[in-house]
Symmetry: C2
DNA sequence: CAATAATTGTTAATAAGATAACAACAAAAG
DNA sequence: CTTTTGTTGTTATCTTATTAACAATTATTG
């Protein structure tokens, strides 16, 4: 089954929001309710759900629990994947706090840094280790995804290190665009782009 | 002139990278060099540049300085826009550090929080103020864009506050999706989506 | 029980975005 | 001076993404 990239992004958002709604005790949800949550159209929601092969109930909507589980089957692996974070500065800490315990199948199991004051402690329940240990720990902790939040001028060497250690995917939040080998999946984000987009769109008026 | 949304995003990225290259002393650049930086195709670059009406020189490429200036005319206003950040936690601090002095036409001029220990100080050169002052300061500091980094359960009231104060655009990094009036431009980002996208794409192999 | 309203699932149509193709031409090489 | 090479600018094509349209069907209303 091939799924469009944008559908994957929305599935992730659906799940995050459905989990919250489920926790409030709601059992079924209509496409237009999901749509309203994410400022998209109900058709879009129904189409995505169609693509993953799920069927709702006419006039009752979608079973929230079932939908969440199915999204899990699509995004997650059975055993789950382990994640590490490179660079425990403000940004890295924000990510750890935010992520902690949120996704059972996607665990941040270690943070790597070079600052001796940070190493050896736990942060948000996650051990902070020295970068020298990376190679060994990626294997022993079975880490397949790395998040890069080191300073600009350390991003390249950090990425190379991860690649050499056999990482499968990287999320790069450092502002240095990376050029990775094809077999490593890369996702980059820079908030300056977000903010400048808003700046552009608020120019008029 | 109408520009596609994706082109705006890329223009922002072009500029960020061109500024770095300019600082290194390079004066001209080819489309394929820009393309390589951002993992896109040279055609894409040329097309974007065409859309903004800039002309390079055949076989010399684009004048980096001119290109940067033109992108500035498109994204920025002449006087610049002022930005505030709501919630100075780890995430807010990371943004302030990162942004500080980086974009002359897009200044973060205040951070708002409710924690008395934070208020009254400077962080990364930016004054930390109490949320109660928001309404007055948005006017006196001429703030038109707000960045939300308050906790999940405070995001809605914070957004409403900004809207009531006449904000023109919001970047929402809190994990709570917002429903804003049409005249306020909204940009949202959640890193869980980025990470889960990587998780999905690294499932196979 | 008939009529109406609401909702899904799916195909068809449209729109947005990316890539390919190539003419034009300037610089470099021969 | 002629040919080759490299690069831009632009149109045409292809691909991906979104929206519209509507049949099917179930619940609700009268
Ligand atoms: N993409 C975005 O939107 C965005 C936003 C904010 C910051 N950033 C970028 O993220 C990065 C981190 O920002 P921050 O505010 O957390 O910075 P920071 O300085 O607070 O943290 C960086 C951390 O990395 C550690 N470090 C340095 N070299 C290292 C190495 N070789 N290996 C491992 N760890 C190393 C440092 O000890 C420090 O703890 C910067 O590049 C910044 O520009 C990006
Ligand atoms: N979108 C993402 O990718 C992403 C990533 C990390 C964190 N987050 C979210 O960002 C938010 C902030 O994360 P953090 O790690 O910085 O949290 P934090 O707890 O460190 O910081 C929150 C700050 O907001 C302040 N605050 C609380 N209520 C406020 C109010 N009403 N007005 C103004 N300030 C107020 C607090 O005093 C604190 O300083 C959270 O909602 C978190 O879930 C999102």
């Amino acid at each position: 089954m091939h799924l469009p990239d944008k559908t994957i992004e929305r599935l992730s958002q659906y799940r995050r929001n459905l989990l919250i709604i489920l926790a409030k005790g709601k059992e079924f949800i209509f496409s237009h309710e999901i749509a309203q949550l994410l400022h998209i159209t109900p058709v879009q929601v129904r189409r995505d759900i169609m693509l993953i092969g799920y069927n709702g109930t006419l006039r009752r909507g979608y079973d929230i629990k079932e939908l969440i589980d199915l999204i899990g089957i699509i995004i997650d692996t059975d055993e789950g994947q382990n994640v590490c974070i490179m660079g425990l500065g403000n940004f890295g800490k924000a990510i750890l706090n935010y992520f902690a315990g949120k996704r059972p199948k996607l665990k941040i199991v270690a943070a790597f840094d070079i600052n001796p004051e940070k190493i050896g402690h736990l942060y948000a329940g996650v051990p902070v280790l020295h970068v020298d240990e990376l190679s060994a720990k990626i294997i022993s902790l079975n880490i397949s995804i790395g998040i890069i939040t080191v300073p600009f001028d350390k991003a390249l060497e950090t990425a190379n290190l991860l690649v050499d250690c056999g990482i499968k995917g990287i999320v790069n939040f450092s502002s240095k665009p990376l050029n990775l080998p094809e077999h490593v999946y890369l996702e980059e984000f820079d908030m300056i782009t977000s903010i400048e987009k808003v700046a552009y769109h608020t120019k008029r008026n």
